[in-house]
Amino acid sequence: MTIEQLTNEFEQARPQLKSYILRITASIEDTEDIVQDTFIKASEKINSFRGDSSVKTWIFTIASNLAKDNLRAQKRWTENVTDICKAKALSNPDYFTEVMQIQHTSPHGQFEIKEHITFCVTCISKSLPLEQQICILLKEVYEFKVSEITQILNSTEAMIKYYLHTSRAKMINIFDGRCALINKEGICHQCSELNGIFNPKQNFEIEKNKIEMVRVDKKGDKAHLLDLRLQLLKEINPFNSHGSDMHLFHLEHNRKVMENHSEISEE
């Protein structure tokens, strides 16, 4: 492979790679660094690429290893991340001012329920063990095959199946217990709350019923509901969505809160 071919393949993969790394790290700065370092490392190792996998799989392998190194010392988030971050936002008088400013000045500052669902999946997925989070994202959002994920994570097919199965079961369970969109007894109403604050002209009931995930709720197939959430992650790239500035601001906010929360927990 020539450097031109690598550059071409890398640029094709870059949008997906960036959103993947962002969803793992929740940090814009780390994402930019890791994506850049991935290209440098791939360029340096270009002669070692033997074509045993696709170039995209190889690039994701390098990026995943860099992300794992980056996250090694960090604690995983907790299932109630959205509660913790909401409480922190409510106690911070600057928070709403900053969000309002984004909304009024940025062409990508809209609040959309669909996009918030993807934000929520990203946050909840960070409560999974890292390997499980990586597996579910690679398989169900970035559409890698199990055999490719075994290469990316340098693991066995059996373990990848275990990670996938367990991560799905945990995510289904968490959303079933928390999400008021799909369960009347769910304890998290942040979509409707944020909609009321940031987009009051948007009728929440009408908007939410446009989302397939909410419409199919009555069938009670929880695995299918998770698939529909993950489908939204495929469709919405947090770096170029309608509400990307709002999305990225909230993700950065949650990361900072959870980093401090981890420190408190460790004491």
Partner: protein, 160 residues
């Protein structure tokens, strides 16, 4: 205890100073899947109906806190005594230990056995207060087989 049939039925042998319960079952799954299920503490309550919770890391030398349906009010403080990846796991406390053993008997077929021996000089004094492990062992083995086989037989998920 040797020559135990792999039928998922528990067998208990009682002696004056000890009691030993064993079970063996064949599971159509790779050893690594079963090992992952046995060593992922926080995930136990999801698939194992005999476990209420396990806190701590299941790895050599570490301590864990186990809450079982056998005696929900008690927290068993145990230490991981042996940890031989994909093969053998032993945890226990002062009065006994539990041994999990995995053996490959085919490309995707594994024999799982579980053995718990409790006893000691004062065992006769409280032996009548300890409930039988048989049903709990059978449920444990059955849950493990079911979960491991589901995972092992997972096809590539179909995305809508």
């Amino acid at each position: 205890m040797t020559g135990l049939p792999s039928n998922g039925k528990a067998v208990t042998i009682k002696k004056m100073f000890s009691r030993e319960t064993v079970i063996s079952i064949d599971i159509e799954a790779e050893k690594s899947i079963i090992w992952a299920l046995l060593t992922n503490a926080s995930d136990y309550p999801r698939w194992n109906s005999t476990v209420i919770s396990i806190h701590g890391a299941i790895t050599k030398g570490r301590k864990i806190q186990l809450k079982s349906t056998l005696d929900p009010k008690r927290i068993f403080k145990l230490s991981v005594k042996e940890f031989e990846a994909d093969n053998k796991l032993v945890w226990g406390g002062a009065m006994g230990k539990r041994i999990y053993t995995l053996k490959s008997i085919g490309s995707r077929l594994t024999n799982f056995s579980m053995n718990e021996k409790i006893g000691g000089p004062i065992f006769p004094l409280f032996s009548t207060m300890i409930p039988s492990f048989d049903k709990s062992f059978e449920q444990f083995a059955s849950d493990l087989k079911k979960e491991a086989e589901i995972i092992s037989n997972t096809k590539e998920p179909v995305i809508v």
